[in-house]
C-alpha cells in the first residue's frame, strides 16, 4: 500500500516537473514588452496617441531625429544644404535606404509623406503657410522652398510630439490624410508582422535585415538605430498585478508603466531592474470654457492660476516626489523653451487673491461652476478632485459631473450654457513634447472655434506663435516663448498643473535602454540569452 502511494507521488512529481519545464519562457532574441496601452490604430497620421507613435518609431524612419540635447540630427538625410537666403532647403537621402518590401526609398516617397503629414499635423500646417513648393530634384534629392525664411524646418522634421513626419512609400503616402492607410510598409529597423497581430492582445515586429543604421551612436531619437532583437512582441496586459507576476515569472522582459506603488516590490525583486526612460515626462493642465461665464472673463481664468497649488495636484496624480516636480512654466520644464515669464501666481498661490478676482469678474458665488470629472482616467480624475476642493475652499459652488473619458471627449465640444449640457472646467494631460514649444500642437491655440476645445480666442497669441516659428535661433525663440507665456497668463489660456515622469521595469537580461524625451524606443535594445 505504502509503495503504491509512493508511486503515485513520484508520478505526480514527475508530471509537475514536466509541466514546469514546458512553462519556461522562451529565451533569446525575442523581447516581450508590455506597453502602456493597446495599439488602437496603425496609421501614425491618424492618431496622436503615444502608443501609435511608438508603433511608428518601430517601423518607420524619419528624415531627422531629435538627439538627447534637443538638437535635430540627420537620420535618413545624408546632406542638407540651405540656400543663402534661407528660403530653400535641399535634402539628399542616405545611400542604401530601403522599404520593407526591398524597394529603394526615393525623394518622391519623402515628398508624398511630407505632404500627407502637413495636412494633419499642427506644425505641418504652420509650415504649409509659408511653404511655396516641395520639389523632387532627382531620385535621392528634394527641396523645400519657402516664401520667406522659416525657422522651424529641421525642428519640424525631427519633432517628437505627434503627428511625427514618418516616411512612407509614395503609394501609401498618397492615401487621403483623413483615411486610414492599409499598407504598413516602412523603412525602419523593425517591420510589422500583420498576420500575428491580435488587436487588444499582441503586436509583433521582426527585425528588418535590410535596414542600414547610421554610424553615430544612438542618442534619443537620433543616431544609429541598430536592431539587436530578431523579434519584439508587445503583449497587452491591462492588469498591473498580472503584469507584475508575468515579469517576476520571466514571461515578459520589459514593462512600460508599472504603477508607483509597485516600485518597492520591483526594486527588491531579484533579476529585475527599473529605469527612467522618458526624461521629460508629462504635464497636466486645467482647461477653461472661454465662451460662457464665469470663464469668459479673463479675471476669473487668472483667479484659477492663483488658486493652483501644483504640489497638491502632483501629490494626487503621482504621489512620489522622486518622480514629480512643480514647474511654473507653460512649456514643460527641462526643455529649451522653459520660462516662468508672467507666472508669478503659480510660484506663490494666493487663494484670497483668487477669491477677489472672481468678485472682480462679477461672479455670483451662489451659481454652480460645472467641472467635468472623467472618473475612469487616472490623471484627470485626481486633478479634478484637487481643483474642486480648492474652489470650494474659497466659497465657490461646484457642480462635479462624473462620466467616463469617452463621454468627456464628447461633452467638451459643447458650447452650450451649463444648464444645457455645457461645461466650465476640465482637466487633461499631454506628453511633455506637445507642450515643449508654442506650435507643436494646438495646446496654445488662440484660434477661437477652429482651435482648442474651450475655444480660447486671441489673435495676439496666434501672431506670437507664428513669430516664434519664423525667428531663427534658440535664443530668439526663447525670447518669443517668454512673450507667449506672458500673454497666455494675461488671457488665462490654461493652467499648467506640474509635471512628472514614470519608470519602466525590466529583466536584468535586457540591456541598451535609451533615454529619450518621450516614448521608449527599441533600437539598441538587447537581451541576453
Amino acid at each position: 500500500m505504502l509503495s503504491h502511494v509512493k508511486g503515485i507521488r513520484r508520478t505526480l512529481l514527475a508530471s509537475a516537473f514536466l509541466l514546469a519545464g514546458l512553462g519556461t519562457a522562451v529565451a533569446g532574441p525575442t523581447l516581450r514588452f508590455v506597453p502602456h496601452a493597446d495599439l488602437q490604430a496603425l496609421d501614425p497620421m491618424g492618431s496622436t496617441a503615444d502608443i501609435v507613435k511608438m508603433h511608428g518609431f518601430m517601423i518607420y524612419d524619419t528624415l531627422y531625429g531629435l538627439d538627447a540635447n534637443f538638437v535635430p540630427q540627420p537620420q535618413m538625410v545624408k546632406t542638407m544644404t540651405p540656400s543663402d537666403d534661407r528660403k530653400t532647403y535641399r535634402f539628399t537621402l542616405r545611400d542604401g535606404l530601403k522599404w520593407h518590401d526591398g524597394q529603394p526609398v526615393t525623394a518622391e516617397d519623402c515628398v508624398a509623406s511630407l505632404k500627407r503629414w502637413a495636412a494633419r499635423d499642427a506644425a505641418g500646417q504652420l509650415m504649409n503657410r509659408v511653404l511655396a513648393e516641395m520639389k523632387v530634384v532627382d531620385d535621392k534629392t528634394f527641396e523645400l522652398i519657402f516664401k520667406e525664411p522659416y525657422g522651424l524646418v529641421l525642428e519640424s522634421l525631427s519633432k517628437v510630439a505627434s503627428n511625427i513626419p514618418f516616411m512612407m512609400p509614395k503609394r501609401v503616402a498618397e492615401t487621403d490624410p483623413f483615411k486610414e492607410i492599409q499598407d504598413y510598409t516602412g523603412s525602419g529597423p523593425y517591420r510589422f508582422v500583420r498576420k500575428d497581430w491580435v488587436p487588444g492582445n499582441k503586436v509583433v515586429y521582426e527585425k528588418f535585415a535590410g535596414y542600414v543604421p547610421r554610424s553615430e551612436p544612438a542618442s534619443a531619437f537620433a543616431g544609429g538605430k541598430v536592431a539587436k532583437l530578431d523579434r519584439v512582441e508587445w503583449l497587452i496586459i491591462r492588469d498591473q498585478q498580472t503584469a507584475l507576476s508575468a515579469l517576476l515569472g520571466g514571461e515578459i522582459d520589459l514593462w512600460e508603466n508599472p504603477s508607483l506603488d509597485l516600485l518597492p516590490v520591483l526594486k527588491t525583486a531579484p533579476g529585475i531592474a527599473t529605469s527612467v526612460i522618458n526624461q521629460t515626462g508629462k504635464q497636466a493642465q486645467l482647461y477653461f470654457n472661454h465662451v460662457i461665464p464665469p470663464f469668459d472673463n479673463p479675471k476669473a481664468r487668472q483667479a484659477m492660476f492663483w488658486l493652483t497649488k501644483q504640489k497638491a495636484y502632483l501629490q494626487a496624480i503621482n504621489g512620489n516626489p522622486e518622480f514629480y516636480r512643480t514647474c511654473a512654466s507653460f512649456f514643460i520644464c527641462g526643455t529649451p523653451m522653459e520660462t516662468e515669464a508672467g507666472l508669478e501666481a503659480l510660484k506663490a498661490p494666493d487663494p484670497e487673491k483668487a477669491k477677489a478676482l472672481f468678485k472682480e469678474a462679477g461672479w455670483d458665488f451662489s451659481k454652480p461652476i460645472v467641472v467635468l470629472d472623467p472618473t475612469d482616467e487616472t490623471i484627470a480624475h485626481p486633478a479634478t478632485v484637487v481643483t474642486v476642493q480648492a474652489m470650494r475652499d474659497i466659497g465657490l459652488k461646484v457642480d462635479v459631473q462624473a462620466m467616463d473619458w469617452a463621454t468627456m471627449l464628447k461633452r467638451r465640444n459643447s458650447r452650450e450654457p451649463t444648464s444645457n449640457g455645457g461645461w466650465n472646467i476640465l482637466h487633461s494631460y499631454t506628453g511633455g513634447q506637445v507642450v515643449s514649444t508654442p506650435v507643436w500642437s494646438i495646446a496654445f491655440s488662440g484660434a477661437c472655434e477652429k482651435g482648442l476645445f474651450g475655444w480660447p480666442c486671441d489673435q495676439t497669441l496666434e501672431d506670437l506663435r507664428l513669430k516664434w516659428a519664423l525667428v531663427d535661433g534658440v535664443e530668439a525663440k526663447k525670447a518669443v516663448a517668454a512673450e507667449v507665456s506672458k500673454r497666455a497668463f494675461e488671457t488665462g489660456h490654461h493652467v499648467p498643473l506640474g509635471q512628472w515622469t514614470s519608470y519602466v521595469a525590466h529583466s536584468a537580461k535586457v540591456s541598451g535602454l535609451i533615454a529619450t524625451q518621450d516614448v521608449p524606443v527599441f533600437w539598441n535594445l538587447g537581451k541576453a540569452d
Binding site: 509541466l19 483615411k179 492582445n201 503583449l235 500642437s441
Partner: protein, 313 residues
Amino acid sequence: MLAFIAKRMLAVIPVMAVVSIVVFLLLRLSPGDPALVIAGENADAEAVQRIRVALGLDQPLLTQFLVWLRTMLSGDLGTSIFTNLPVADLILQRVEPTLSLALATMIFAILVAVPLGTVAGATAGSWLDRTLMVVSVVGFSVPAFVLGYCMIYVFSLQLGWAPVQGFTSISKGFLPFLRTIALPTVTLGLAYMVLIARITRASVLEMMGEDFIRTARAKGVVERLVVTHHALRNAAIPILTVIGIGVALLISGVVVIETVFNIPGVGRLVVDAILKRDYPVIQGVILLFSAVYVLINLTIDIGYALLDPRVRY
C-alpha cells in the same frame, strides 16, 4: 416534440430583431464619439469632423441604422473603426479562448458539483455535507480576481506549474492548452461549482423525502440506485435551470478572469470596444452574446421537455 422545437426556434427571430435594434440605439444615443477618440487630444474641430464624415457618423441615425442592417443581413458584421479589421475576424480570433474557458468551467463545475451535491443531499448532516456548506460559503464569498491572484502566486510563481498569463490554442497540443486554461478554469469554476452543488443538494434532499423514494426502498432497490435513478433524476429540472443561469452569468465572469489571466477572449474585446466607442465591434459582440444566451435558453427549454414529458409551453 418536433413541433415544439420548431415553435421555440421561430420565437428566436423576433427576440434577435429586438436585440439588434436596442443595441444599435443604445450605442448611438449614449454619449461618446469614436471620431474624437481617434483624433486624439489635440485635434481641432475640422479634423474631427473630417474623420466623422469618413466613418459615416455624420449621417442621420436612420440612415446609419439601415446601412448597418443591410450589411448585417448580408452576413457582414462590419469593420472595426479603429483597427480596420472585419468584426467577424476579430470575434473569430477571440472565440476559442472564451469558448474554451466557458466550456472547461462548466464541465469542471458540473462534474464536481453534481456528484458532490447528490452525495451531500443523500447524506444530509454528514461531514461531507457540512464540508460542502463551508466550501460553498468560501466559494461565494471570495471574489474571483482575489482567488485568481492567489492561484497565480501559488501555482505559477511558487510552483511554476502553469504560466501567469496568456492562452495557448488547443491546436498547439493538449498539454500546453491545459496548462494555460487550468488556473482560469478553477478560478472561475469555483463559484459555479458551489452554486450547482448547493442546488443539487437541496433538490436531492427534497426528493429523498418523497413517497416514491420510500416505495423504491420498500421494493428493495439498493440505496445507490435510489439516489441516482430516482432522486437525482427527479431533481434534474432545478439543476438544469441553475446550469442555464450559470452559463449566462459566465459571460460577465469571463471578462474578469480574462483580465486577471490576460486571456485574449471576447469579453476583453467588448470591454475595450466600449471604452473606445468602437460601435461595430460592440454591436457584433453583443449580438453574439445575445444569440448564445438565446440558444442556451432554447436548449434548456428543450431539455425540460425531454426530462419531463409533461412540460409544454
